[in-house]
């Protein structure tokens, strides 16, 4: 059988979702942001809620996500995406509202907004991309940077005595009564991508059922910031990030998952 016999519209099994715009993504080659964008938009396409969804873009590499996601979007001041999303959801309770934030935004400057939105149990979805670094500004240390991890501001590795310890914000918000679904996923292999998509689907479903806040952390690579190729960055992430940030559900249906 020739390739031209296979490439026919009736044999199509996978194509890029139409809820993404035609713009070429501004991210570095191999960056997990692109996959995370696609999963969020595939979920919105499958649920058929493109016209009822409002997204809030954060500051960081994902600041341009409103250019790529073909839904109504707004940009929030640095760290304030959950506060903006709270306002949007309270004024438009029938809309689906999500924030798309990185670790420098959500876990550093936006810690107060994040924790209080989670504590209030706002009926929104938070997509949190954790790559352990400030990627956009040149790979500086973030609160989520691992101990011993090198960044442009910690050239000899992060030490706890001088720079404090990395923060597990996802475990932290899982302790709050307002959160309903808290999970940590990754998008570096096909199996993990499929699991992450299920988690995002559940997060949007919870919003429909008015259950409370859903928080999906996606541990991602930052191969430019880590100074690695995409393939070695993913391997490094498996070896170093996952022992500290273990994948899996942390809180399901309002109950902490016992480990």
């Amino acid at each position: 059988m020739e390739l031209k016999d296979i490439i026919k519209p009736e044999n199509l099994v996978y194509k890029r979702t139409e809820c993404l715009t035609d713009k070429v993504l501004s991210y570095c080659p191999g960056c997990g942001h692109g996959t995370a964008h696609r999963l969020v938009m595939e979920t919105i396409e499958e649920l058929g809620i493109q016209s009822e969804t409002i997204g809030v873009a954060s500051v960081g590499c994902s600041v341009l996500s409103y250019d790529f996601m073909d839904v109504d979007m707004t940009g929030a001041a640095h760290g304030r995406a959950t506060a903006v999303a709270t306002g949007i959801k309270r004024c438009n309770p029938e809309k689906y509202v999500f924030t798309y934030q990185g670790d420098g935004d959500l876990a550093a400057i936006g810690t107060a907004e994040t924790i209080h939105a989670c504590n209030r149990g706002e009926n929104i979805t938070i997509i949190f991309i954790n790559n352990g670094i400030y990627g956009m500004t040149g790979g500086q240390m973030a609160p989520t940077t691992l101990l011993g991890m090198k960044s442009s501001t910690t050239p000899y590795g992060r030490e706890s005595a001088l720079m404090g310890n990395p923060i597990k914000i996802t475990e932290l918000v899982a302790q709050l009564p307002g959160t309903y679904f808290v999970t940590r996923q990754s998008v570096h292999t096909p199996a993990n991508v499929r699991k992450a998509k299920k988690a995002i689907m559940k997060a949007f479903d919870n919003q429909k059922l008015k259950k409370g806040l859903s928080f999906v952390e996606i541990v991602s690579n930052c191969n430019s910031g880590w100074k690695m190729t995409p393939v070695t960055a993913n391997k490094w992430m498996e070896d170093n990030m996952f022992p500290f940030y273990p994948l899996g559900d942390i809180k399901v249906d309002g109950e902490l998952v016992k480990k």
Partner: protein, 75 residues
């Protein structure tokens, strides 16, 4: 047992040559060549062994830039 045959269509101009699809392809179908680049200078991916593709969609699922479209047929 019916054999699955697949085909991958690459959006050459979007591809950034990150090689994540190459390492995640269970059949080693995909490859890129450093000398073959798109207009932005990225070495784009192509089907090196088209006969081995089963249309499993793993490459397209893991592609950050949504470059790949997958077709599958039962032979």
């Amino acid at each position: 047992m019916a054999k699955m045959r697949g085909a991958v269509v690459v959006d050459v101009e979007r591809c950034k040559g990150c090689e994540l699809c190459i390492v995640n392809c269970p059949q080693n179908v995909l490859a890129n060549i450093a000398a073959q680049v798109n207009s932005k200078g990225y070495p784009y991916v192509y089907m090196k062994n088209p006969g081995d593709c089963t249309g499993c969609t793993n490459c397209a699922v893991v592609c950050p830039d949504g470059v790949l479209t997958v077709y599958r047929v039962k032979e």
